[in-house]
Symmetry: C2
Subunit: 342 residues, 2 copies
């Protein structure tokens, strides 16, 4: 069906090796020969078989990006970043959704090992540290997470710092009763920690944390209702991310609470929708495209490292700063009122 080196060689009356040389622009070849070979290549529509190449070289020039769900608004831009530097470097990208299921994630990693991908970017993993270390022996791995074994290559968003600054912003506006809707992973959350750290710095307590299972609009709405039922005096709610915040906005509307007059709401990530809802959401911007770039560059470094000359696996994880985006839902414009009101 599709032409091989041998076909070209036979047709051009040269050896396989010669064709191979022409294809790879190797060494000197008689111009006359090269011309003839190139001619046959074009005529037969020959294309090198990457499979065979990879079998010999041990490299596939393909990587995988493993994420919970591409439909989560956080990931498309991230993946775009990954793919853009990957292709620029001649790599192709497998996309794998785990559906937030650890078992599925495990199966995927296993299958990718057989697939001989050169490296993996693993996001929002649900695996245990031990499993991650195990996976790292199998793959060249870059993790995108805030809770990772220190020995693994990691790129992280400054979640705790960012969320602390976000909460601090509300505190500056005079809020004292601040709640938080958290998404806990094995009981942990860097964002919740940031929330708590900010309150603690101001000597404010207790914490009002309400968990969601998944970080969706609907779960956010339900959680906000639970939280407000429990602590009606809240003047502000910090949300795990923008989707949850939008759900919270809906819950406030359900209860006839005006935002930001009666209560402030803030999100995290700054997804497209955040700027479009009414009232527009105050949030922390996370440059997800850049995060994808950074992760992939990190991975590429690992890929270029040899065994004798291992990459300077900077023990320090690469960190991506966040940026406060003040819109309407925090009531920043009303800061004077709030300040004088207390």
């Amino acid at each position: 069906m599709t032409a091989t080196l041998r076909d070209v060689a036979r047709e051009a009356g040269v050896s396989i090796r010669t064709v191979s040389r022409v294809v790879n622009n190797r060494e000197e070849i008689a111009d006359e020969t090269r011309r003839r070979v190139l001619d046959v290549i074009a005529r037969l529509g020959y294309r090198p078989n990457t499979l065979a190449r990879s079998l010999v070289s041990g490299k596939t020039r393909s990587i995988a990006v493993v994420i919970p769900q591409i439909t989560d608004p956080f990931y498309p831009e991230f993946v775009q970043g990954v793919e853009s530097v990957a292709r620029q470097q001649g790599y192709h990208v497998f996309l794998c959704n785990t559906d937030e299921d650890p078992a599925q994630e495990h199966k995927i990693l296993d299958a990718l090992a057989s697939k001989q991908v050169d490296g993996i970017i693993l996001c929002g993993t649900r695996l245990t540290p031990e499993q991650l270390i195990q996976a790292n022996t199998l793959h060249k791995l870059v993790l995108i997470t805030s809770r990772a074994p220190a020995t693994l290559a990691t790129v992280k968003v400054q979640e705790e710092l960012g969320f602390c600054a976000l909460t601090e912003h509300l505190l500056q506006l005079g809020h004292q009763q601040i709640g938080h809707i958290a998404r806990l992973l094995y009981g942990n959350s860097a964002r919740r920690d940031g929330y708590q750290r900010a309150l603690r710095a101001h000597g404010i307590g207790p914490f009002h944390v309400e968990p969601v299972g998944r970080a969706t609009i609907d779960e956010g709405r339900a959680a906000a209702h639970r939280l407000l039922d429990r602590v009606p005096a809240l003047t502000a709610i910090t949300c795990y991310n923008d989707l949850v915040a939008i759900g919270t906005l809906q819950a406030c509307a359900d209860r006839g609470l005006a935002v930001p007059t009666d209560i402030a709401v803030v999100g995290f990530d700054d997804i497209l929708i955040a700027a479009l809802v009414e009232p527009a959401l105050t949030t922390m911007h996370v440059d997800r495209f850049k995060l994808g770039l950074m992760a992939t560059e990190q991975l590429m470094q690992q890929l270029q490292s040899t065994d004798e000359m291992p990459a300077p696996t900077s023990c320090q994880p690469v960190e991506l700063p966040t940026r406060l985006v003040v819109r309407t839902t925090c009531g920043a414009k009303c800061s004077a009122n709030v300040a004088t009101a207390r």
Copy 2:
């Protein structure tokens, strides 16, 4: 480094062939032998090398989905659909962004041929019909588009029909001066055609079509301004998609036009944001996840077809219906007013 069949064979004191049989659960093997082999496999952490397998079988069990941009809100759910049935069938998915650049698209298709992917789902292609037919000789191909050569396997959204129904809805509400913001590809657009068909059916003219280069919020906003400058009497604007419609909403706000009181606006696709903007957008729902499913199933059929028994390449393209979602921006609630007003 990583164990091969030979390693396992040597270690277990059997032949390569025997190990191969165990791995593939082939034929009968003495339980004793199988046990011993499985034991060694586990101990050595052997994993079959898919590369080598593929080289022999001529199948990689990987497909590619080629799209303009994963950050376009249309695609994440589509890709999710693709990946879900692909994995279920044991296939992995390469994700390739063309950035809406025909040259890039061409390069990608070329590279994928070398990659030996088993099939490709090609969305929103910018290639010419001739190029597509050419590409189809190189790949098993499924197209997602409204403008495709009839001989190629295609899954299409009922864009013209859907847009016609959408426009009809506005006509039913009494609108007479209806504009359209179009995204033209080589001068064509199924959605614009639907708009025109609806008007024509009611004997209404002329058409008021304003083009955008890319279907984004910003371009939509600018186009809406141009359109309203040109035809201030418009009582409704139909937009190529929801992003453009949101831009149009912003343009209306810029001009102090109340929606839907002063002017109606409708979109297409029903992306998540459509329900969240204020006022909520009336639009046509396109089940993008299902579209992904359908495309992949179509491709799987092709993959299972042999040369002697070619797939019944249904000359008829598979079609996905759309569904009208009435929200606020069309002013359906005010239909009585509008009807009596004329």
